[in-house]
Symmetry: C2
Subunit: 263 residues, 2 copies
DNA sequence: TCAAAAGTGTTTAGCATACACCCATGC
DNA sequence: GCATGGGTGTATGCTAAACACTTTTGA
């Protein structure tokens, strides 16, 4: 039974090559059709959805592990990724959570023995470009045989999740809102080229409030990290907006000079 | 040999009742004679200083563990305590760091076997009232038999510490500065009653810059969480300053209304 | 020619900064 | 009476918010 083998090897890998009782969870934000989305996944044989997670290998820096895990899940290498809080309540009982999956998949308690019972989890949030992520379980299925489904879900419509994962999303969102209001990190949620109204819509969605067009444009341009391109006619019965492109180099430069950080 | 027993029991305790590969480190700030201080400790038989740390028990929430550990170290129950970052680089090799101590104390490798080799560490920073902390190893020595000395050290004069502990202090300081500049958390570093010039000196020390007296007072009073008391004559040849008291109730109230958070 | 959405500039208000004089006290 | 440090109020400037008209385009 090949599937059984994969599960057992996966468990063995966790037990032998990963730090016990430490996990990472990812709040992956995407933006599509005016909606802020998060990536959720579901295990085999369980009805509860959860955030994608990962573990730190013995010889691996945690930050590297985070990038690796996220790459394995989304296929994306260049993303905005940042830890925002570490969660350590006892309700995070990994062992208990796995019991249901284990019995439904027909494994014995011995098969799963030696796995960490309780995890401290470092929460990361990521901003990714929606269209670049293919949320069908592909590559990562080979690495995580428990995953049955991966899906985008509107932030407002997230169901009851495993453990404290709902709280994680809320804390991530709060962090995102605060960061967004004093440094321009939203660009990574949009395609390479975007219009000012698109950017504004993104900000309005994340912050949950309407913004003034003129003031918004002024502020964005004042950072000096946007490059204006051609006009873009999408077929609407109105004036064509300009396309903008986020200039990474200027952004890094500005960050280094702490011009953007209104701390 | 009683001391040997205590060490062995301590190690056993870590192995059996604490989460493996998770630790906490504390940047404990105090303020005395115009200087910002941090609490440092030194292990038996090692010359390297380090931050006080702690571990999470199997059945304990991490935040509770943090308060417990800090109480064991400082004897303080009511302090400002907050996680600020989680550190996970591979240089944090606990096992290697203990080797020196182990050999100097005359223990064999077997005695120390089964201890975590590498820790992810959750960094907390605490603001305590300097005079309320007795930094001589008392209570906590019974709990942590490795500790030889605990001492306050000026933030600017911190020597090279274990692992990434110097970086931890820097990150904690940065967090403290940012928080201080948009919410009034400094009060916990001062005695119950304090004068406005004292508070200002504290702010100036933490932020590393001089502030205008008049604007400072205006800002502090505008929060509406200070209660003015009697005048205080400390014997100086000048006008007696007022004593102020921090009103916890009003502070909580203001926090709840998010009046103080200039996010 | 009309509706829908985008581009743009000026006025205004509020908050943070800058700044100076008088007062209490001990020597 | 003088030096030291503390208390207080006002003027100023800058940034963020408020606000309206013109332009392009497709139907």
């Amino acid at each position: 039974m090949e599937y059984r083998e994969r599960i057992l090897r996966f468990i063995e890998e966790i037990k032998t090559s990963c730090l016990p009782s430490v996990s990472m969870d990812f709040v992956v934000f995407g933006f599509h059709e005016g909606q802020l989305k998060v990536l959720l996944l579901k295990w085999q044989g369980v009805d509860t959805w959860m955030l994608p997670g990962g573990r730190v290998r013995m010889d691996e820096n945690m930050e590297d592990a985070a990038y690796r895990s996220l790459r394995e899940r989304t296929g994306l290498a260049e993303v905005f990724l940042q830890q925002f809080h570490t969660f350590g309540n006892v309700i995070r009982n990994t062992y208990y959570a796995m019991e249901e999956t284990r019995t439904k998949l027909g494994f014995s308690a011995e098969d799963f023995e030696g796995l960490p019972h309780r995890d401290i989890s470092v929460g990361f949030y990521a901003l990714v470009e929606y269209t670049k992520v293919n949320p069908t379980p592909g590559l990562e299925l080979a690495l995580d045989p428990f995953t049955e489904q991966i899906q985008w879900c509107n932030v407002e419509e997230v169901p009851q999740l495993l453990f404290d994962h709902n709280e994680m999303i809320q804390v991530a969102l709060k962090t995102l809102r605060r960061q967004l209001s004093y440094q321009p990190i939203g660009y990574t949620l949009l395609p390479d080229q975007f219009t000012m109204p698109q950017l504004q819509q993104l900000y309005e969605t994340i912050l949950g409030q309407r913004l003034d067009r003129r003031n918004f444009q002024k502020r964005m341009l004042s950072y000096g990290i946007l490059e204006r391109g051609e006009k873009f006619q999408n077929g609407g019965a109105y004036k064509a907006p300009y396309l903008y492109r986020f200039d990474r180099e200027k952004y890094q430069q500005a960050l280094a000079e702490e011009r953007l950080l209104v701390v």
